[in-house]
Every structure is written in structure tokens, then in C-alpha cells.
């Protein structure tokens, strides 16, 4: 399951304040958008539990604080941070395996385990 932290129709600027996710599941070669899901980042424990319960494997988000990123990654969830842009455009780019055009200016290579290109 892929999750994108969103604000209206774009990736939310910072994940630490984000309150909505777009969930996308994959069936074979097909990507299926799920209904949006409300989240609260005020309780990190609860958030991580929700992520595990839903089966989120990858999170695409905007800016994120180091400590929040580490907590999420400790649950074997792959975080692709510092992404901006319209949700549909980002999703298409992710499906194509290259998010490099959507990385926030000045944030290339920021605290990412591996380039966004490799994630799929």
C-alpha cells in the first residue's frame, strides 16, 4: 500500500502537520486509489499503529522532521520525503519510477535512504 500525505489536491507542505492521506493499492500492474483517510500526527504512536494496520509500505510526503521520519522508518515503512506537486502528477511519476522532478528545491538528497527513482 502506498500513502501520500496531502493537502487538498497537492502533497502537503510538511508531514508533521498533515491530516489527510491518499491511499493507493496495487493489484498486478493496476494502481487503485482508495478513499482518503484522516490522520493525526499529534500522536506518533497511534499514527504508526494505523500505518501498520492498513499495511502502508511507502509514504510520500513533503518536509518531515528527522525524528518523525526515523519513527516511521523504524516500522519498515519506506519514506520518500521532500516531495511537492499535484497528487495525480506525483502518483504518475512514482508509477514511472522517477520522482526527481518533484523534489522540493534545495532538498535533493535530504535524509533519503536511496534516490526516489529506485522505489517502486
Amino acid at each position: 500500500m502506498l500513502a501520500l500525505a496531502v493537502f487538498e489536491e497537492r502533497i502537503s507542505s510538511i508531514f508533521d502537520n498533515s491530516n489527510e492521506l491518499v491511499l493507493v493499492s496495487r493489484k498486478g500492474e493496476q494502481w487503485i486509489k482508495q478513499p482518503r483517510m484522516k490522520i493525526s500526527t499529534h500522536c506518533i504512536e497511534g499514527l504508526v499503529q494505523d500505518f501498520k494496520r492498513i499495511g502502508i509500505k511507502v509514504l510520500i510526503c513533503g518536509a518531515i522532521s528527522g525524528c518523525l521520519q526515523r519513527v516511521i522508518e523504524s516500522q519498515d515503512i519506506y519514506v520518500i520525503p521532500w516531495i511537492s506537486g499535484r497528487v495525480d502528477d506525483v502518483l504518475l511519476a512514482y508509477q514511472d519510477g522517477d520522482l526527481s522532478c518533484f523534489v522540493m528545491p534545495g532538498c535533493r538528497g535530504c535524509k533519503r535512504r536511496s534516490p526516489a527513482k529506485k522505489m517502486k
Binding site: S13, D16, I64, S65, G66, Q69, M104, P105, C107, C110
Partner: protein, 448 residues
């Protein structure tokens, strides 16, 4: 280089030399200027910032739906000192204070906006350090009497003796009782707090000692009392001066023999409970007037701690106010930065008959009126110099003469200082002789 280019260069030099971050945006929210301090605070280089959307550069807590700059541009107004946080590319959360205004062309049309932001990390860190050294088990104070209490509390806690806490209402007796319990060897057992003044005598007895089934009509089954619940822990008996002579005898027995009898019981129950009692009454005087048993008083008065009233430790007011503001900020989800100089000066002049609790109430009131930024004098309750604005200017009709203004100033100062002339002199910065002459000249007399 033409004049316009020269002016622009000069403006850039000036803005790059200031310590606060400054950026401007055009009407499409794209960054058109980004000074050196902005680079330092955000961790984003100018060349990365220019021409890009501000939300992709600033990464602030208000970018999604609560943008201050947007509000300023849409309402054509300025907003100052709003506390937010930003996230830098290395993952650090940086607290900043921002101010924003719209930018206009020569014709007065809004063409974008400017945001100025100040890194509050250092201030926040200093504030934390300061609060840490003046905080002890949730009790706050840097004044001598409070520092003395902080010093002796650990030893008092370890002693296991009965403690009597004296002090006016709202001075923090319960906080001290909790600190005594938390620092003692009983900290892993319960602390049971009982307000002896809140219950009628007969009910208090059954609540304290419990009862057996059949002890009275509605006693269908055994009920353990507060003493049983506090077994191996501590019991905090607040307003101990309010208990009846009959109950005084029973409490004396608990303290003397470490046993008590639940209502309707035929045998005694052992009690291993540390008693911490408190009152705002003068127990010594009550003993003299035979309203309180002297043997109980001496049993309770093994270790006595007197909590100073707030008016005797006014130097703690800024620290307490800051702590209360931070607490309300998190409870009420606001970003109040603190008190303005004038509001603080007014709070410092007040005597607080209700002590810290009253200060809390005053700040809670101010939180209702103050939306953001600093709490100003006009946000304080009516009793705080209602005729003053935060600029310290009094609304005086232009018809007033200089003498009338002077008379009013002396009258107000006397009232604020409870007609104590020395205190009034200190506040007004005049000698005793000058004050006496002014009182005579303006025929000011204390109301009966």
C-alpha cells in the same frame, strides 16, 4: 547604473545585513527576494529559493491552509509576531516568529508580500534552561523563599514525618504536598488528597476511615476510607483547620497510635500512612482560642512549611506568567508569545489576594481577548488600570489641565498602592515631600 538599480542594490545590501530572515513573494507566491539570514535559518540557498513557490522553500507549520502572508494580502493588513515552526532540509524543527505585510506598487495595488522571520531556537533554549533551574517538581519560583523551600524539600520528603503546610489559598500547598510524596520512599504508593472543608463532618469521618456494612441505613457493604486507600502512601488533608473537635480526636488517634476504627467496626485497623496537612488558617491562634486541640496541633506540626503569598515574591510573577502562558498555549492551541512590558508592569503592581490561582485566572481571561502575539494591557481584566492603553497613554480629555492630570496620576498611584505613601513615591519616582505637597495642593484624601 541608473538610480532605480542603485536603490535596489542598496536595499539588498541593507536587507542582507539584518539578522532576521526576509523574503518577498510576487502575486503567484513565487519568491522574488531571499536574504542571507533567510538562507541561514531555512537551510535553503538563495539560488534554490528564487522563483519557486514559497511553501516549497519555507516548509512551515502554516503553509497548508493557514498562511499568514496570504491573510495579509487578502485583507490588506499586517500581522506581527506569530509563532510557528519550520522544517529545514536536515530534518530540524526550528521555532520562528514571523511578521508579514502586503507589498504595493506606486498606485497602491497589492503586488505581493513580504515576510520577516526570526529564529527563536536560542531564546526557547534559554527559556527552557531558565525554567529548569527555577522549577522543582512542578513548583516554580526563583525568589529566595521558594529557593529555600526547594532546598529543604528533599530532606523533608525523606524524613517520613508529618508535615504541616501553612499559607494563604492559592499559594501552591497541594503542589508541595505532591512534591513531598513524590520525593519520598512512598512515591510508588498512592497519594490521596482530601479537602476537609468540602465535606460535612459526619460524611468526612466515613470518607476518611471508611465504614462496615450495617454501620448506618444505606451501608449495604464495607467501604474502605481514604486512609485505607492511602495505605503505605500519603494522605493530604487540606483545610485541616475546618475539622470538628470530634474528628480532631479521631485524627489524633491515627497520628499517635497509627490505628483507626472504620464506622461500625469492632476492632481497630492499622494505618501506615504519612499525613501531610494544610491550612490557610492561623492554627496557633485557633489553639489559643481552644478551637483546635493543641495535642493534635503539635502532632501535626512536626515539620512546618510556610508557603509565601505571591505579593511577597513578586519577582516570580514573570516566570509564573510565562509558565502559565505556555501551558494555556498547549491547552488552547494558541500562540501567545508572552506579556507586553506594560501588561507585565500592571501585573507586578497588583497584590493578588488569590495568589497564583488568581494570576492563572487573570491570564486565562487575557487568553480569551488576545488572539495572538503579546498579551497587552487592554487584554487584562477591568481592575487593571482600565483607563490605560498599552502604550501607557491615558485617555484624558483634551479639556484636562496639567494640574488635573497630575492630580489623577497621584490619586491612581495611591489607590494602586493601598494609600501607602512610600510605595506611591517609589512608583511615581518622586520624594515623600513632593507627594505630601501634591496631596495638600490637590486636596486629595483617603476615602473612609
Amino acid at each position: 547604473m541608473d538610480k532605480q538599480q542603485k536603490d535596489l542594490l542598496q536595499t539588498n545590501i541593507i536587507l542582507n545585513s539584518v539578522a532576521d530572515g526576509v523574503f518577498t513573494v510576487d502575486d503567484e507566491w513565487k519568491i522574488t527576494f531571499f536574504n542571507q539570514a533567510a538562507e541561514r535559518i531555512t537551510g535553503i540557498k538563495q539560488e534554490d529559493a528564487l522563483g519557486n513557490m514559497c511553501r516549497d522553500i519555507f516548509h512551515s507549520s502554516i503553509c497548508d491552509g493557514s498562511c499568514t502572508l496570504r491573510q495579509c494580502i487578502e485583507k490588506d493588513c499586517s500581522i506581527t509576531n506569530k509563532s510557528i515552526f519550520i522544517i529545514t532540509p536536515d530534518g530540524n524543527k526550528v521555532p520562528v516568529s514571523i511578521s508579514a505585510s502586503p507589498l504595493k506598487d506606486d498606485a497602491g495595488n497589492i503586488i505581493g508580500g513580504v515576510e520577516v522571520f526570526r529564529d527563536l531556537s536560542e531564546i526557547n533554549e534559554l527559556r527552557k534552561q531558565l525554567t529548569k533551574s527555577y522549577t522543582f517538581q512542578d513548583i516554580i519560583g526563583k525568589s529566595k523563599p521558594m529557593q529555600h523551600i526547594f532546598q529543604i524539600l528533599p530532606n523533608i520528603a525523606k524524613s517520613n514525618s508529618t508535615v504541616l503546610l501553612l499559607g494563604e489559598s492559592g499559594t501552591g500547598k497541594e503542589l508541595v504536598a505532591r512534591a513531598v510524596h513524590n520525593l519520598s520512599g512512598r512515591k510508588n504508593k498512592p497519594l490521596v488528597a482530601v479537602n476537609c472543608g468540602a465535606l460535612p463532618d459526619t460524611l468526612l469521618e466515613s470518607e476518611l476511615f471508611g465504614y462496615k456494612a450495617g454501620a448506618f441505613t444505606d451501608a449495604k457493604k464495607d467501604k474502605p476510607g481514604y486512609f485505607a486507600r492511602a495505605e503505605k502512601g500519603s494522605i493530604f488533608l487540606d483545610e485541616i483547620g475546618d475539622i470538628s473537635p470530634a474528628l480532631q480526636v479521631k485524627l489524633l488517634r491515627v497520628l499517635q497510635e497509627k490505628t483507626y476504627e472504620p464506622l461500625g467496626a469492632t476492632s481497630s485497623v492499622k494505618a501506615d500512612v504519612r499525613v501531610i496537612a494544610a491550612t490557610n488558617k492561623d492554627l496557633e491562634a485557633m489553639v489559643r482560642e481552644e478551637k483546635f486541640r493543641n495535642d493534635l496541633y503539635y502532632r501535626l506540626n512536626v515539620i512546618q512549611l510556610k508557603m509565601p503569598p505571591l505579593r511577597e515574591r513578586k519577582e516570580d510573577i514573570p516566570l509564573l506568567a510565562d509558565h502559565i502562558i505556555q501551558r494555556f498555549n498547549s491547552i488552547k492551541g494558541k500562540n501567545i508569545l508572552g506579556l507586553s512590558q506594560h501588561a507585565l508592569a500592571l501585573l507586578m503592581k497588583y497584590d493578588y489576594p488569590g495568589n497564583v490561582r488568581e494570576l492563572e485566572n487573570i491570564i486565562e481571561y487575557a487568553f480569551i481577548l488576545c488572539e495572538e502575539g503579546l498579551i497587552l494591557a487592554e487584554h487584562l481584566p477591568e481592575k487593571f488600570a482600565p483607563r490605560f492603553t498599552d502604550s501607557g497613554t491615558k485617555h484624558i480629555s483634551s479639556n484636562f489641565t496639567l494640574d488635573e492630570v497630575k492630580k489623577q496620576a497621584v490619586l491612581d498611584a495611591l489607590e494602586r498602592n493601598g494609600w501607602k505613601r512610600m510605595a506611591t513615591c517609589r512608583e511615581l519616582g518622586i520624594s515623600k515631600g513632593t507627594l505630601r505637597r501634591m496631596i495638600e495642593q490637590y486636596q486629595i484624601s483617603e476615602p473612609k
